[in-house]
């Protein structure tokens, strides 16, 4: 590995600062009382507490899954804190009241919550540790009937919607981490787009973990009613800390008939240092259900976290529904990622596309794990899968584990995978045209990821590309 590649891969994490705010943090440990305490703090109705408790009891009977291609020391679930909120955040206050310290935090992350500086055409919900600190552009959205607020607020103001859809795609019993989340989730975002409405703004949530020893368990629920459409983006950062922190989120998307939901993630949690100390364990369950003629599209750029375990999936329930998964996953240092998707074809003429680009550098281990399942009644189902891996250096690994299960003979499936390295000849060619090695590599990597970047909302494509440049910094030598 040339020294220039090496230098490129080892750049400092830019979001590793800690915000000094006074927090309301509950004691460590997890019992039924913890669940009751969280629910009480959020002033929840009885049905939601009951649901949390069912989830908690179920979780207690489950064991942590270990089939993924990652390894980490055992997690002590009793040594975590399950709720932490900045004291200054009182429920339902207006943005004008947000603690300036918190506003500064988001400014530092490049997200302005104040009205005059906010991003054009984008509404932002900012989640700090366990709670939402504010949502912008609410009035603009209310004009067209779009509900975009924190999950906690939705429980208070739209309980019927929450009760109808919560757990309808990811039941609390779905898996170990989903059960845990269902028991202790604190906040998250809620989106409802009414019938026939095309959401006029990009919706976005910025997640920030700040408190130490605190897990983040957010819950996002997006409902697109018939004929509606919405594009949603989440971004994630966390301070540099020596301990590993657990992030077990659940995202549910319900796309009713003829609706369309585009969900984009730029995940840049703290990845730990180059020796693998610290970093976020990102164990996330994301799933959408697409009804007749509906479309769900997942795009993810995963550059952070010590460990990533996530498989944004689509249940293609309705006829002619469409599922898409576009992913760039970068591992560097000691990072491990086991990520991919599940496309479950149930309806007729359902169509899915999977484009996955994995980049491994340093001592990183990157696994694509994907399932394409065509059930017997899914006449005319189609899938196209392409997963490409690129290795930078000789201490990393790239792995591909596709599971293709076809039970209908009218299905068409095509799967392609490749593994390659950045060619020395490519670097030399760029250098012979005047580009230095870093520039050459970021260019080649961006080209490798192009099919995914083009799926990101415009404003974020550039950001993602820059992020990628940063994550690979120092990986080339």
């Amino acid at each position: 590995m040339s020294s220039s590649i090496e230098a490129l891969v080892n750049k400092e994490y830019a979001y590793g600062f800690v915000t000094d705010v006074e927090s309301d943090t509950i004691p460590v440990g997890l019992t039924e009382d913890t669940v009751r305490l969280i629910s009480a703090k959020k002033n929840e109705p009885q049905w939601l507490l009951d649901w949390r408790l069912k989830a908690f009891r179920r979780w207690q009977s489950m064991t942590e899954p270990h089939w993924s291609n990652v390894s980490y020391p055992p997690i002590d679930y009793q040594a975590q804190t399950y709720y932490s909120a900045p004291k200054s955040v009182k429920p339902l206050q207006s943005l004008a009241d947000v603690d300036p310290e918190l506003l500064k935090t988001y400014e530092k992350l490049g997200i302005s919550l104040t009205e005059q500086k906010r991003l054009n055409g984008i509404a932002v919900d900012a989640i700090f540790d366990s709670v939402s600190v504010g949502t912008t552009m609410k009035t603009e959205l209310e004009k067209v009937g779009v509900i975009f607020c924190s999950f906690g607020e939705a429980v208070q103001h739209h309980p019927e919607l929450v009760q109808k859809y919560l757990g309808s795609v990811v039941p609390y019993s779905d898996n170990f981490f989903a059960a845990l989340n269902s028991a202790v989730f604190s906040d998250g975002s809620f989106v409802y787009v009414p019938k026939g409405v095309k959401c006029p703004l990009e919706l976005s949530t910025y997640f920030r973990i700040n408190a130490a020893n605190t897990g983040q368990f957010e819950r996002t629920l997006i409902v697109a009613d018939e004929g509606a459409s919405v594009s949603y983006l989440e971004g994630c950062t966390a301070p540099k800390r020596d301990e590993n922190q657990l992030h077990a989120a659940v995202v549910e998307i319900i796309a009713l008939d003829r609706s369309s939901v585009k969900y984009s993630t730029v995940q840049n949690w703290y990845a730990g240092d180059k020796n693998g100390v610290g970093g976020i364990y990102n164990f996330v369950t994301k799933r959408g259900k697409a009804m007749t003629d509906a479309k769900i599209s997942w795009t993810q750029v995963e550059t952070g976290s010590a460990i990533t375990w996530k498989y944004p999936s689509v249940i293609l329930q309705g006829d002619n529904s469409v599922g898409e998964f576009y992913s760039v996953a970068v591992v560097n240092g000691m990072q491990q990622a086991d990520t991919g998707t599940k496309m479950i074809h149930i309806g007729r003429n359902t169509k899915s596309t999977i484009i996955s680009k994995g980049i491994s550098a340093g001592k990183g281990q990157n696994s694509y794990r994907g399932q394409v399942k065509v059930l017997p009644k899914a006449e005319g189902a189609r899938n196209y899968t392409q997963c490409d891996s690129m290795l930078i250096g000789n201490a990393c690994g790239a792995h591909t584990f596709p599971y293709i299960e076809i039970a209908n003979n009218t299905a068409t499936l095509e799967h392609e995978a490749s593994t390659s390295k950045i060619g020395e000849d490519q670097i030399f060619y760029c250098k012979a045209r005047g580009l230095n090695a870093e520039h050459a590599i970021s260019l080649i990597v961006a080209g490798f990821c192009k099919e995914v970047f083009k799926e990101l909302p415009m404003e974020f494509a550039l950001e993602a590309q820059q992020l990628l440049g940063i994550s690979l910094e120092g990986s080339v030598g």
Partner: protein, 436 residues
């Protein structure tokens, strides 16, 4: 359930199974204990995720008593491929010298029943037997090692080129009903040696039995082994076969697996490219109908630099049949300049047919070129239309296109007589007419 086999193993050990050099009963005992501890695999086992062996596990297959066969050469004629080839014929697991012929090999090439070599060169056998086919995690291999009856040893010395294929024909008839057969094969091709081998498993009657075969193949530096396997067991039979290969520098191992028989079959081909410049070509074709289930698993372990692997598996599935392909390519950090390519294609002819495929890559070296591709589909409507527009009836057009799909895999067979034989079989199966 492995418990019922305890008694069998004791009886077997007391009655002939305990014979041979002193290390052999010890090996069998260790293998049986392992088999007993492991039990039969379940679908919770990642390697058996899509294949349930419950039909095997819930039965107890008995050891077959030696019995004189009434089969004659003319009964075997359709399965000989070429009557001129050297061959060893096993009927219901027992060698039939009268049906075999293997005298015309070069003098220094050894082709002999395992029992014979165990008597004559026990030390040599000891160094190889069980050295590749580990049974620590493989219940069926453990079972074979515990119960293996007679097998075949083929040893080709340095530089020797055997230019006529060798045929090992395992046939079963109604006397195999309820029995278990554990054939064993050991091939050692020393440096620069070359040999072609065809293993056939043929069920002559509709008996239900278990064949659990294990083969170990050493391909020396610069050597080449072409290893063909034709599985046409009875439609009520169960077949599990594992081939474990190790390859030296600049060696070539070419394998082809054809699976058309059995009610449930599993074929494993595992090769380790341990010397630089080695090449592995693993190909196969499975044609299934009715309620047949066939599972193929390949594992190519790239340990050394500059090796190449090529895989092409095609499956044609009709009726309610279920095909599984599970292929893994592993590239060690040392195995720079690896060139790996794996292709898996399945053609589904009926609405109830199912296929599960899992082509995996595990790459730990950066300077490699590895790809895999998988396709599942039915007959191309455009191609069908094209043939019909040229006056070919729908039925024939479909049959022809199915045959054409299978032919891609068959074309990789380099022994003309075998390729023609399989082409004919496949063609007749799909077109119900003669191949001209």
């Amino acid at each position: 359930m492995t418990t019922p086999y305890t008694e069998q193993f004791e009886a077997f050990s007391a009655n002939g199974g305990g014979e041979g050099p002193s290390w052999l009963p010890a090996l069998r005992k260790k293998a049986f204990e392992r088999f007993h501890a492991l039990g039969f695999p379940t679908t919770r086992d990642e390697d058996w995720h899509f294949t349930s062996v419950t039909p095997i596990a819930e039965k107890t297959f008995k050891s077959l008593k030696p019995a004189a066969t009434t089969l004659t050469l003319s009964d075997l004629e359709p399965h000989l491929v070429d009557a001129e080839w050297n061959r060893l014929v096993f009927v219901n697991g027992r060698l039939e010298p009268a049906l075999s012929q293997y005298g015309s090999l070069p003098a220094d090439v050894q082709l002999a029943p395992l029992s014979e070599l165990l008597r004559e060169e026990p030390a040599w056998v000891e160094t190889h037997l069980g050295s590749l086919a580990g049974f620590d995690k493989a219940a069926f291999t453990a079972m074979n090692t515990a119960f293996m009856q007679d097998g075949v040893v083929l040893r080709v010395p340095t530089g020797e080129v055997v230019d006529v294929p060798i045929h090992i024909l395992h046939v079963t008839d109604e006397k195999a009903q309820g029995g278990a057969i554990h054939p064993r094969l050991l091939i050692v091709a020393e440096a620069l040696a070359q040999v072609m081998l065809v293993e056939s498993f043929v069920g002559l009657d509709s008996a239900s039995y278990l064949v659990n075969a294990v083969a170990e193949v050493v391909v020396g530096n610069g050597a080449r082994v072409d290893h063909y396997k034709v599985q046409r067991e009875s439609r009520d039979a169960y077949h599990v076969g594992t081939t474990q290969v190790v390859q030296g520098r600049d060696s070539i191992y070419h394998s082809f697996s054809y699976a058309a028989g059995g009610s449930l079959s599993r074929t494993n081909v595992y090769t380790k490219l341990a010397g630089t410049g080695g090449e592995a070509r693993l190909n196969g074709l499975y044609v299934l109908d009715g309620a047949q289930h066939a599972d193929h698993q390949t594992f190519v372990e790239h340990i050394a630099e500059s090796c190449a692997s090529r895989e092409l598996y095609c499956g044609v599935l009709d009726g309610q049949s279920h095909g599984v392909f599970n292929g893994k390519v592993f590239v060690d950090p040392q195995a720079q300049k690896t060139d790996g390519k794996q292709t898996n294609k399945a053609l589904l002819l009926s609405p109830q047919a199912r296929v599960d495929t899992k082509p995996q890559l595990e790459i730990f070296a950066d300077d490699v070129k590895c790809t895999h591709g998988a396709t599942v589909g039915r007959i191309d409507e455009m191609a069908l239309f094209y043939l019909k527009s040229r006056g070919i009836g729908a039925e024939s057009a479909r049959a022809l296109l199915t045959y054409a799909f299978a032919a891609e895999a068959l074309e990789t067979i380099e022994i003309d007589a075998l390729r023609l034989d399989l082409e004919r079989q496949v063609f007749e199966r799909f077109t119900h007419s003669q191949l001209v």
